[in-house]
Amino acid sequence: MKNGSSVQVRLPSELGFEKVAMSTAASMAALMGFSEDRIEDLKTAVGEACINAIEHGNHLNSSLGVGVVLSTSADGLEVKVIDDGAGVSVAPHVPDIDRKVHGEEDLRGMGMFLIQRLVDEAEWYKGPPGKSFVRLLIRLDKENE
């Protein structure tokens, strides 16, 4: 696969369609030679990013789409997930299982944490409608670590 190749997917803002982006990311990562365990990490991160875009960015509004842009480079595979929301300005919350199990913390809200832990780079950008996105990167040079 050539560096600079790009694939774009547009998802309806309906839960379940994140799997389309996950499958696409997995296919591209496999073509680039990423190992199976790193592909699984990427799939979960992409899925969580799409779910956040569908639920929190686009508020499940079926008239809005979620853009997913997957780009190859010499460094690795970059995935941007773009929605119509205001974007995220806070750092991912680290879940506290003790507080959750004791009913002191929302049981949900683990998506951003998982994204950050499962890929090599994760950045959230705020922008006007249609311009807020999360950018994920898995690096080829981490493949054998």
């Binding site: 369609f17 299982i97 003790d98 683990m110 998506g111």
Partner: protein, 119 residues
Amino acid sequence: MQAATRVTTRTASTASGSSATILAFSGDISSASKDAILGAWHGLDGQARHVLLDFTGVDYINSSGIAIIIQMLLEAGKTGTQTIGIFGLTPHFQKVFTMVGINKYAALHKDEAAALAAV
């Protein structure tokens, strides 16, 4: 568009000679799974002392689905008498469950035999 979650309930004998209730999941574990999973869990009515969650037939888990499992742990903790174990997760989801700390409240086992041996 989310795939359905199916839950089947059965019992098995543990290595110590007691009985364990196994909730076997299949399909997806997501926000759409809440009624299926919590319905089966509440159907046990707190009577099962040892509960094992079987993920062998699960194709997909996301963070909203993990939150439902944590809900079960929260409710089991309130009874003070129930233990929950987990088996059948792929290595990837064993890692994910460990990342969020579920292994602190529910032991993760490779398969049913290992889970039953640990009860």
